[in-house]
């Protein structure tokens, strides 16, 4: 009997270890061309806190250089961004972030207000798989799941990704336990240039009113920030496509003034910011490249300092060494990307 108990324990341990290893191996690593799925989990490696937290989709993680904010103003910031991040995902990411730190300012990009329902599983995965388990993650999954998804696939991702055994590459083994750093405090860097082109004419909509579900989460976000004495800033990134309708702009303006929030639509401020969309974008005007993101950071950082009097941490020993390393990595990546472009 004793032998059977020992054997059973060892076999169960083998089973758990085997499934765990298989899960690690089979989960997408997002280390190739699509790195967006690796962003959310990078936050947990942070060793210092941040005065500013950005939340939102690609219009934040590609448009603000956190390292430039540090270099110019000594602002500590982090972008908790992910691809097509929906507003409930932004809310729960913020809720989770507040368990780790309490920033002075939260900046939310309002483009995702246009989505009132869960969209695509692939984007859900890129936001949710990287989150650590907490009540926020559970609520986030429940709010985000499309009809075909099931909760258990999030609990045991191997049930979702098991069929990837057909497409395993060397990278899956290489990054099985440790991944490369893909962002700079959440900023996704691109140095290449592709000038802005012509955008298609905006399609008229049947109804311009934001959905109740989206607005409910904006209310929750506002309350969460107020309850924690955090300044919530609503922004619309300066990129003109996807189209940001005037009716939408008006609704956000009204909401901000009703709730005592600041809302900045940066589309009309392109010139003031100094953006030149013939050189400051890498994908024909959808997102900013390094040059554009640094200009945005110089402009917005000044506004943050002027408005909220954010402290300059550049001489604070708590941060200097950490940010020295971050700057080094930032510059190294610039060099690498430029070299790749030349090749």
């Amino acid at each position: 009997m004793k032998k059977k108990i020992i054997a059973s324990v060892l076999i169960i341990a083998f089973l758990i270890a085997g499934l765990w290893f298989a899960q690690r191996l089979l989960m997408p690593k997002y280390m190739g061309k699509i790195v967006e799925g690796a962003m959310v989990e990078e936050y947990y490696k942070e060793t210092t806190d941040h005065d500013v937290i950005f939340i939102g989709d690609c219009e934040v993680y590609e448009n603000f250089s956190t390292i430039k904010l540090w270099e110019e103003y000594g602002i500590t910031s982090y972008i908790r961004g992910s691809s097509q991040q929906l507003i409930w995902q932004s809310y729960y990411l913020l809720e989770e972030t507040l368990k780790y730190e309490k920033p002075k300012v939260v900046v939310f990009n309002v483009l995702s207000l246009k989505y009132d329902k869960p969209q695509k599983e692939a984007y859900n995965r890129m936001t949710l798989d990287g989150m650590k388990w907490s009540k926020s993650k559970v609520d986030d999954i429940k709010a985000s799941m499309t009809e075909d998804e099931s909760f258990i696939d999030y609990v045991f991702p191997i049930l979702r990704y098991h069929s990837r055994w057909k497409e395993l590459t060397g990278d899956d083994l290489k990054y099985i336990f440790e991944k490369d750093q893909v962002t700079h405090n959440g900023y996704y860097m691109r140095v290449d240039v592709r000038p802005q082109g012509e955008f298609p004419e905006p399609m008229p909509l049947d109804d311009y009113t934001f959905g109740d579900n989206a607005m409910k989460y904006l209310d929750m976000m506002t309350k969460l920030c107020k309850d924690n004495d955090i300044e919530l800033v609503l922004i619309k990134a300066p990129t003109e496509y996807p189209y940001w309708y005037e009716e939408w702009d008006e609704q956000v303006s009204n909401y901000a003034s009703e709730n005592g929030l600041t809302y900045i639509n940066m589309i009309p401020l392109q010139e003031e910011i100094g953006l030149d969309m013939s050189v400051d974008t890498y994908d024909a005007g959808l997102h900013l490249n390094l040059s554009g993101a640094e200009k945005m950071s110089v402009y917005f950082g000044k506004w943050l300092v002027d408005t909220y009097g954010l402290e300059d941490h550049r001489n604070d020993p708590k941060y200097t060494k950490v940010y020295e390393e971050k700057i080094e990595y930032y510059n190294k990546m610039i060099e690498e990307q430029r070299n790749n472009l030349e090749e």
Binding site: K4, S8, F14, G18, L26, S150, I152, H162, W165
Partner: protein, 536 residues
């Protein structure tokens, strides 16, 4: 809720834990609650899909149960009264009076049984066959005078629980089984959830002792049960779910996939159905075993059969024995058949005469077997084809014997393998009626298999366009080798593992579980997860 859904697996784990926590007397009531819950959830999902909440299917199973309970109860009462009367009047009535009283009681019992069977089988027939009958009548009617089809959905598992219930009331009528006095116990027998997906069709006397018994948590039950469950999931999820889309592709585009493709479809479907059906039954038997309940075996290595008769003794055993016990034998010995037998022996001679009733009863068995599988001509023709092949091979037996008396190969390994392959191919070919679901099309497509031979398809990549990639073929080939190896060991030794191999057996099971999780065809991108026999 099917066996492969996460909801089902989690529910069964929770149930098994509760089963051994609750007082032993509460074990069978817990199973009853779980069974009704299972049916209710399956029912809800089904009606949700159809957006039709008008008639919950649970009602059908409850009606069948009530009919079975009342029928058995009334038959039991008649038996009791008869016994009481006969023992009280032992001394006072004559032998003839006794005989007359018994005959009267028997006819009363027969009337009760008949009413019970008509209602139970009537429910099955009305729900399953009404539209089939209407379609056939309509084929003779002109446009405008055609009868409208009924909006009926076949209640889930009705073929299984109706047959199970019928066997119970017939056994009570035959005096083989005591009527169950506790209605809730009978309801559990009718609705026991692992049997609700695809059988097996259990007999009351076989199932009742362990179904209503009190069970201690025994390592041997858990171990044997889990072994069957995991082996079943391996066959279902790694093989059947993977190969099913290819069978669908091959049988849908009949313009492209003819000739040798039909041969491929035939082999694929043979592998698919075997893994799907035996896998599902393994899961059923395994779950029951974990709960300490013994469910009848439904398969005995059917693909190792050397002839079709043997095959049908090894495949879907509980259905075969049901038809034998409740149709073949009663029909063979009923009054008109005995008269016919006598007449045919007198007029056609002993040799032919004795065959007439057997052939007629067999014809009825195979016709109903086909009809039981589905309300469509392809199933009926499939049943009749089995009948024809069995009868021909039976008639050819003297010829075989003559051949084997001259050519001494019968006991060689090579001839044994030839017989096995011949049986598998013949059964697989008959099964093509199930694949194409259209009688003329099946004949046409099977015909192209012989007239349109194109071996290039095995080399030109055509077989990579039917929903299976190179990796899938590797997995299927590996699974085939594993299943064949296990089957050969079982055929030679009777068991795959000896009880003493505890560590090895469980280590391999753990490994198999990992294989299922990784290589199983389920989740995103896989739709073909429904059990094939679930539809019957």
């Amino acid at each position: 809720m099917i066996f492969t859904s996460a909801q089902f697996i989690i529910s069964v784990i929770v149930l098994a834990v509760l089963y051994y926590i609750v007082p032993k007397k509460a074990q069978w009531p817990l199973l009853l609650v779980a069974s009704i819950g299972f049916y209710y959830v399956a029912d809800r999902k089904y009606t949700d899909l159809r957006h039709d909440h008008s008639c919950p299917h649970l009602i059908f199973i409850l009606v069948t149960f009530i009919v079975a309970f009342l029928t058995a109860y009334l038959i039991g009462r008649i038996d009791q009264k008869t016994k009481a009367y006969l023992s009280a009047s032992k001394e006072t009535i004559s032998k003839e009076e006794k005989k007359a009283y018994k005959a009267k009681a028997k006819s009363k019992k027969w009337a009760v049984l008949l009413v019970g069977l008509i209602i139970a089988l009537g429910l099955l027939c009305v729900t399953k066959y009404t539209n089939f009958v209407i379609s056939n009548i309509n084929s003779f009617l002109k446009e405008g005078s055609k009868i409208r089809h009924f909006d009926i959905v076949i209640p889930a598992a009705i073929s299984y629980y109706t047959f199970q219930t019928c066997s119970y009331v017939i056994d009570v009528y035959r005096g083989k089984t005591e009527p169950q006095k506790n209605p809730f116990k009978l309801l559990l027998f009718v609705s026991f959830f692992p049997l609700m997906v695809q059988g097996p069709i259990c007999r009351y006397d076989d199932l009742a002792p362990t179904l209503f018994g009190e069970h201690k948590l025994l390592e041997t039950n858990i171990s044997k049960g889990l072994t069957r469950v995991i082996w079943g999931y391996f066959k279902k999820m790694v093989v059947a779910n993977r190969i099913a889309p290819a069978v669908i592709a091959l049988s849908t585009d009949t313009d492209t996939y003819k000739g040798t493709f039909v041969f491929v479809a035939m082999l694929f479907y043979a592998f698919d159905l075997y893994c799907d059906f035996t896998g599902g039954i393994d899961i059923t038997i395994g779950i029951a075993k974990v709960l300490g309940i013994d469910v009848a075996e439904n398969f005995n290595l059917p693909y190792f059969s050397k002839n079709i008769k043997e095959y049908w003794n090894r495949w879907h055993i509980t259905m075969g024995t049901w038809f034998t016990d409740y149709i073949f034998y009663p029909v063979s010995v009923c009054g008109p058949m005995l008269k016919l037998s006598k007449w045919s022996r007198e007029h056609l001679g002993q040799k032919i005469g004795k065959r007439v009733t057997v052939y007629l009863a067999s014809l009825l068995v195979w016709f109903t077997t086909g009809l039981w599988h589905g309300a469509a001509w392809n199933f009926i023709v499939w049943g009749l084809m089995n009948y024809v092949v069995i009868m021909i091979s039976q008639e050819l037996e003297p010829l075989y014997a003559k051949f084997h008396s001259k050519v001494k190969i019968k006991n060689t390994v090579g001839y044994g393998i030839f017989e096995i392959i011949r049986t598998v191919l013949l059964m697989s070919m008959i099964r093509m009626f199930d694949v194409y679901r259209n009688v003329p099309l099946t004949f046409k497509m099977v015909g192209t298999m012989f007239t349109n031979i194109n071996l290039k398809i095995f080399a030109d990549g055509s077989l990579l366009n039917i929903g299976l990639g190179k990796h899938d073929y590797i997995v299927l080939a590996a699974a085939f080798v594993i299943i064949l190896t296990v089957s050969i060991i079982k055929a030679k030794k009777g068991v795959v593992f000896k009880d003493s191999n505890f560590a090895v057996r469980h280590f391999l099971l753990a490994l198999l579980l990992i294989v299922i999780v990784v290589f199983g065809a389920y989740g995103e991108g896989y739709d073909a997860t429904q059990f094939i026999y679930n539809q019957f």
